[in-house]
Symmetry: C2
DNA sequence: CGGCTGCTTGATCGCTCTCAAATGGGGTGG
DNA sequence: CCACCCCATTTGAGAGCGATCAAGCAGCCG
């Protein structure tokens, strides 16, 4: 057994989408082929343009994947939390990473190189089908975001982004739902295709009406249903008929 | 042999990305499981929200896939030509089509239902890997478009869209490259996240400077390099240093 | 406690959408 | 074959959303 992976870790691994449907022995085999890589906040797992050697599954922490344009504009492709796959470029035959993966918090991830992954897929073809499912979901997700960007105004897009982030990385606290990792105005702007100035203005507005409460890289949603109203363009709250 | 598929058709089928790497006998097996479906212009292969039963590969003609928002805005997800896969939702376990596939010209397509596809994948696992590759490419493509939409101005996005359409469906004619299928201002607008008015204005401008020549659902690019300049934001032509 | 980094806020500009109306090409039916 | 009608397109005027430029402010970490 190449690497001594802890039992609780293996349990999480068996719940990862990519390895769903594998039995205990098979998960052990997968775990044995994994290399564990830790990063502290602001370090990167890989950089845009680098040769794509590794697939990762995040074990602990939070990362963001961002793409930089030739002009220097940045766009957030996605956030990922524990149990989520990222850097899956080698899986589908890509040769270079199209974006950079940056640790937002201190992180730990499993990594498999291309050769290991190919071997695992031959051993357990189910992995390929799971990967297919993952990519399909990812495709649907980005298409939604594209549609939003093409047809909705900034305020709606930010509302949607926050709701999504809350549902995948939200923590219930007294008074609302807290985004459980550091999230700057800039991050939100790069996620929704706007500027940090506009995000700041909108969050300030929401704060005044009591919808959210936010500080330095920290956002708490006090009334999710209010954000839903905004996202669906019921203008300001569900009171339209005077 | 369930269906008598013509020999030239089988040759095209063997060049389709999804079936790459299969030998003649295997392609025959694939062909045998296919159902041929013809549509005339403006008919649809499937509609958004319908149960996703079929995967298609276009044999002849051209289709567009578009998504409609609850508010009625439309966004073009992609165009597809001969040899291209579309409606591949069942491949990755989706249950409903996220968009509608409309024939732009008269079309002919092969179709496999989910059961047939599952059987083929078990017979020839290579198909699953090809599908993975296809989805990865699709993902990269839509991410580029997202990035453009988030960071570039309308004029650049239209220039890029035209160049892309020209490279996948362009025909060299005297005086330039002709988009070889009917393409309206509205289509371009839905592809680039703008309005037909803005597209019309921009094309008119380009026509006056001799960059393109266009008419009713017809566009010819006279100077592709000029469009490249615009796409890469060298403002107007490669003359910046006075 | 100091400096850095992230946030706020004002003022202005301009790109692009919206609304409105006219034009013209092409296919269809008589 | 011609005339008509429909649909795609063009073009104008105006408004407004959001970007850009420019300071100033405030947590937080070292």
């Amino acid at each position: 057994m190449p690497l001594p992976l802890s039992k609780p870790s293996r349990k999480l691994l068996s719940e990862v989408m990519l390895f769903r449907g594998l039995d205990a022995a098979q998960v052990d085999e997968v775990a044995g082929a994994a290399k564990v890589k830790s990063k502290s906040a602001n370090q990167s797992y890989f950089r845009q343009g680098q040769e794509a050697r590794w697939n990762y599954v995040l074990n602990r922490g939070r990362i963001k994947v961002l793409q930089t344009t030739p002009e220097g504009h940045q766009v957030v492709a996605r956030f990922a939390g524990a149990g989520e796959l990222f850097g899956c470029v080698p899986l589908y035959g890509g040769t270079r990473y199209p974006g950079s993966a940056i640790a937002i918090t201190s992180c730990e991830a499993w990594a498999w190189d291309k050769a290991a992954m190919d071997r695992l897929i031959v051993l357990f073809p189910r992995i390929a089908l799971n990967a297919l499912e993952f990519l399909g979901a990812e495709l649907g997700h980005i298409r939604s975001r594209f549609q939003e960007l093409a047809t909705e105004r900034v305020e709606q897009r930010i509302a949607r982004a926050l709701l999504r982030l809350a549902s995948q990385g939200g923590k219930k606290v007294e008074g609302g739902v807290q985004i459980a990792f550091p999230l700057s105005r800039q991050d939100l702007a790069e996620l929704t295709g706007t500027t940090l100035h506009t995000v700041s203005r909108i969050l300030s507005g929401w704060q005044q009406t009591g919808l959210v409460e936010s500080g330095r890289r920290r956002i708490m949603i006090k009334h999710p249903h209010g954000l839903v109203s905004i996202a669906e363009d019921l203008k300001s709250g569900p009171s339209l008929i005077p």
